[in-house]
């Protein structure tokens, strides 16, 4: 394996980590707002707050880690994506900023008003949408290179069916992932009403998630045939991913082993995510930017990988401690302890 491949694999893994933890977070905010709207807030709010409070900050770090690492390993991406993404990325930052700080304001500062809950829930849906646009752009066709720099064609971008399919996929995936996780969590907390409600949400959102995912592959056939043919070569990975998906839905339907159901879901997304990433190779931005051309020098790459291993040595035990103290602590999950500052 070359250093380039190690670099991009590490980053892709972190992006995957962000997709999962952020989905849980965004979806939780939405379900919380929706249940308030439907007058069922008493069922969900406590479960959601109990999970999110100790981990909300960690979620953000996954994203920072990904983009800092990306620029570190592949400095040329800073030039291409940095120039193109000014507007969509700035909007995403602003939404993330409002979301993150208002979470803290309401949870710790007692700024309790329905308005904020709704805003919080809705902003969580716009963020995946504005971030997932990057995936569409990376397929090529929306960027032109001129003498004075590079330009993004917003009209073409926003009228492309591919863009909207990716947006719908990101939204339904967020709600699906979140609902499956929270079903498991609520079940652990022995909160039956919340489990039932979330289980229902999970089953509802599983349908659009899988339909759009398939639809996108079909759309790529016209948009980027080269990428499409590489996707087809990897059909068996997508097939495994689909089997895992079916397993999750089956377990949810049978009301059993929610923990395994979430495990299968993670596997489904991990495989699909990596299959997509592998098929994207060797382009970072079709057709301007290839993986090998944009890679940093060897000295920096080695330094970054060493730093990465050392960092993981520090992080993994800490994350384990965090999970053990909260996610897997019976008293905490069931709300029998209230130890917060």
């Amino acid at each position: 394996m070359t250093l380039e491949i190690i670099g991009i694999t590490v980053l892709w893994l972190f992006l995957f980590g962000y997709v999962i933890v952020a989905s849980i977070d965004f979806g939780a905010g939405f379900f919380n707002a929706y249940s308030l709207f439907r007058g069922k807030q008493h069922i969900l709010t406590r479960i959601i707050q109990r999970y999110l409070s100790p981990v909300w900050e960690v979620t953000n770090v996954f994203l920072v880690f990904f983009f800092v690492g990306m620029v570190g390993f592949f400095p040329k991406t800073a030039y291409y994506y940095g120039t193109i993404l000014l507007v969509p990325a700035s909007i995403a930052i602003a939404l993330l900023a409002i979301r993150g700080s208002y979470y803290a304001f309401t949870t710790y500062g007692g700024l309790k008003h329905k308005r904020y809950t709704y805003l919080y829930g809705l902003s969580g849906l716009f963020i995946p949408a504005s971030l997932s646009i990057v995936l569409t752009i990376s397929e090529g066709g929306f960027v032109t290179e001129t003498a004075s720099g590079i330009d993004l064609d917003y009209v073409a971008l926003f009228t492309s069916p591919l863009t909207w399919s990716v947006v719908v996929l990101s939204l339904s995936a967020v709600l699906y992932i979140s609902a499956v996780f929270l079903t498991w969590y609520a079940h652990k907390a022995q909160d039956e009403p919340a489990t039932e409600l979330l289980r229902k949400y999970a089953l509802i959102w599983s349908v659009p998630a899988i339909v759009t995912a398939t639809g996108i592959i079909v759309e790529l056939k016209d948009h980027n045939p080269e990428h499409y043919s590489r996707l087809v070569d990897l059909w068996w990975l997508f097939a495994i991913s689909f089997i895992l998906f079916a397993g999750t839905v089956y377990l949810l339907g049978k009301r059993k082993s929610y923990g395994i159901a979430f495990g299968l879901l993670t596997g489904q997304f991990l495989i699909a995510f990596f299959a997509y990433g592998i098929s994207h190779y060797p382009y970072l931005l079709y057709p301007f930017l290839k993986l090998y051309d944009s890679f940093t020098n060897e000295a920096m790459a080695i330094a970054l990988i060493i730093a990465f291993i050392a960092g993981l040595g520090l992080l993994l035990p800490s994350l384990y401690l965090l999970l053990r103290l909260f996610l897997f602590n019976k008293d905490y999950v069931q709300g029998k302890r209230d130890d917060h500052a």
């Binding site: 409070s53 120039t83 409002i98 208002y102 000295a299 330094a303 970054l304 730093a307 800490s318």
Partner: protein, 448 residues
């Protein structure tokens, strides 16, 4: 929008984001140390007041951390969004500390979550104190790494420039550049100092507003002591920074001091105004600049006229420098008088006007942080990478920077107002007398 406008708006937006972020970032670096000290004192002295101090600071700290995290994310991304050409070039050399910063941040985030939610979980309070150590280390180290990146921009090294290409890159050498030791030390010392004075200012305000509780007196005395120590440290390191500038960035020092002609035994100019190249109304301290620059009253200090005009920073940085230094000295004196006053039982430190000065000290220290950063950053104009890349070459070519500037200005307004409203409400609704009474009642309930 032309390129010139993109450059201008990119500069304004970066300045706005950083100026807003460093308020919360400075607090984020300094407060964990203060909480740690208070918690440790509480355990050591078996004094409930210090424990409560730590707990209440922590609650407020969460709010500032939230804003610090989200604005930090903003500046992290803006580096690539607004300065893509810079990141493309410099990323090859300086990605390592940037990357390590996220690890420090990660580490802090994990343990802060744990610390916040385990207040009464452990029988042994010392275990809980142990959780604070990684929080404080993570907070300080993210400042260390990010300051290293900034130091590199002031003193780039660790590579060779051959025909516009960077070759022979050495990431470690790039990190340990000559600007790094003084910058990192000064940033840490002033962050601790500012946080201490901010907390002192809150305590003094409560004392003024009717609460005469011993809790607030302990808080003010503790934080003034810590503030004094770090303000002295900041001054000493500031002196080293002057020597660094004289050696490696003489144009910044010369512009800050309005020192135009190279000569020996250079005087230090304090205050004054610049009128047609003439310095007026300035306080002149003979030989002081030579001492600041080289520890020798007769040493030669390079003047600004030695540099080509398009490579010198704007002269208004003199005011920023003077402002920063004046506030630093003022706070040192104020805290020294207070600490000595408590020991010697001087009565004037308990008067209303002195307490008002302490209240003012917190915001003043924050202002000094801002002035210092503006000085450091504007002082390396016109370079983004000193001697290698100018600011104009680094900015984005995108035409939407002005709209983004408006959006972010609105965002920071919302965050700034929101955090202040929430913080004041939190503490006004639950004053310390109330909390102490509640805890007392709780304990009695347990005994019964």
């Amino acid at each position: 929008m032309g390129n010139e406008e993109s450059v201008f708006f990119s500069r304004v937006l970066t300045e706005l984001t950083l100026s807003f972020h460093i308020i919360y970032a400075t607090i984020g670096v300094g407060i964990p140390l203060m909480i740690m000290i208070a918690q440790w004192l509480g355990i050591k002295k078996q004094d409930e007041h210090y424990i409560l101090l730590a707990r209440r600071w922590t609650r407020g700290f969460v709010i500032t951390v939230a804003v610090g995290v989200v604005t930090g994310t903003a500046i992290g991304l803006q580096l690539s969004l607004l300065w893509p050409n810079f990141m493309e070039l410099a990323g090859n050399v300086i990605a390592l500390p940037l990357f390590m910063e996220t690890f420090a941040f990660f580490f802090e985030a994990i343990f802060l979550g744990i610390y916040l939610y385990t207040w009464d979980r452990f029988e042994n309070q010392k275990k809980h104190l142990l959780l604070l150590i990684p929080v404080a280390i993570g907070a300080s180290f993210s400042a260390v790494f990010i300051t290293i990146v900034n130091a590199f921009m002031n003193a780039p090294q660790g590579f060779d420039l051959v025909d516009g290409q960077l070759v022979n890159i050495n990431p470690i050498l790039a990190m340990f550049n000559p600007a790094m030791p003084t910058k990192v030390a000064h940033v840490l010392a002033t962050a601790y100092m500012t946080s201490a004075f901010l907390l002192a200012s809150i305590g003094a305000y409560r004392l003024l507003k009717g609460s005469d509780h011993i809790y607030h007196k302990k808080a003010v005395f503790l934080t003034m002591k810590i503030g004094l120590i770090f303000s002295i440290a900041a001054a000493v390191i500031g002196d080293f920074s002057g020597k660094y500038l004289a050696e490696y960035q003489p144009e910044k020092l010369a512009a800050a001091e309005w020192h135009f002609e190279t000569h020996e035994g250079a005087p230090l100019m304090l205050y004054g105004v610049l009128d047609d190249g003439e310095v007026k109304y300035a306080l002149k301290i003979p030989y002081a600049l030579s001492i600041l620059a080289h520890s020798n009253p007769n040493a030669e200090v390079i003047g600004l006229n030695e540099f080509p005009e398009d490579e010198t920073p704007p002269l208004y940085i003199h005011y920023l420098f003077d402002g920063m230094v004046t506030i630093g000295i003022w706070m040192t004196v104020l805290s020294l008088m207070y600490v000595v006053g408590v020991w010697m039982k001087w009565s004037f430190i308990r008067t209303r006007w002195y307490r008002w000065l302490i209240v003012l000290g917190g915001p003043l220290s924050v202002l000094a942080i801002e002035l210092g950063w503006w000085f450091a950053e504007v002082g390396r104009q016109p370079w983004i990478l000193r001697g290698i890349m100018k600011v104009e070459e680094a900015a984005t070519t995108s035409g939407q920077v002005d709209t983004m500037l408006l959006m972010f200005a609105g965002l920071y307004l919302v965050l700034g107002v929101g955090s202040i409203v929430v913080l004041t409400r939190m503490f006004r609704k639950n004053p310390v007398e109330q909390e102490l009474a509640d805890r007392e009642a709780e304990k009695e309930g347990e005994l019964r």
